[in-house]
Symmetry: C2
Subunit: 136 residues, 2 copies
DNA sequence: CATTACTGTAATTTTTTTAATTACAGTATA
DNA sequence: TATACTGTAATTAAAAAAATTACAGTAATG
């Protein structure tokens, strides 16, 4: 569910940008979000795989930005949160293949859905994480 | 759920554009989509309220475009499907009000989420329903 | 070197959301 | 007056998401 992941990811990244010297742990972050720490850790795993953060295990461990907040654009965070999904996904039910529209709708829709994601990325490219954080 | 509604609405509108002389009924449309007719009728109610289609009750009734397909842009359909929601909605859990980020994140996010919807609308403005239909 | 405090995941359960179904009143057609 | 629709509300079933539990692995610290 992109909509949740995106909100979680932005929140996490804002915290990390604000306390960029500290290793922040998932419980603290989860308390700020008011969600379960495991969800936070999962999203951190994605941000880590995307190269935006680093983490340290063990006592006094936690997470930290790997890149300066002014080098990170909100679109970078969006792309990681979204993964391979599209924001507006097609219906799960297979449309009727005996219908002229049903037969082709999914492939035609796919183009639109990809274009929408590209448009979102372009929009989010405009703002850096630092700019976003400086509002707080 | 905007993602479902948008797909349903586009599918319905494509069918109506293709068979623009006919009153199409919800069972036929539902069979093309392979979903329940009640869901179709609900989305038709929204399209009707949005002024894009007209419907006729009783025997031989159904739904029909009210506006020519070349005057309808995909953004018009998107706006109706989305209603007052944003595509990427904020988390339901209230973030921690004792946290500097938690306290303000929702209001700051709202701006981003609105901007995303505007960007999607702009993208979908580029294509008319007729152009989309002509692909089939 | 044992204790503590973390990450990282997997597995399971609970909760929430979405979709399907059922039901039926109202209406136009023939 | 029978038939075939729309329009909606209420209920049930199914699917998805979130929370919880559990625990192995790891690093710091006394």
């Amino acid at each position: 569910m992109i909509k949740t992941k995106f909100s979680i990811a932005i929140h996490i990244m804002t915290l990390l940008a604000m306390y960029k010297e500290d290793w922040m742990n998932s419980i603290l972050i989860a308390e700020s979000l008011n969600i379960n720490p495991v969800l936070v850790r999962k999203e951190i795993a994605a941000l880590k795989a995307g190269g935006l953060v680093e983490s340290k295990e063990g006592k006094n461990g936690g997470v930290k930005l790997l890149i300066d907040a002014n080098k990170i654009r909100l679109s970078d965070i969006f792309k990681i949160a979204k993964g391979t999904d599209t924001v507006l996904s097609p219906l799960k039910n297979k449309p009727n293949p005996n219908c002229r529209v049903g037969k082709q709708i999914n492939s035609k829709m796919d183009t639109i859905l990809e274009d929408i994601d590209t448009a979102i990325s372009k929009e989010l490219e405009k703002q850096t994480l630092e700019e976003f954080m400086n509002q707080f």
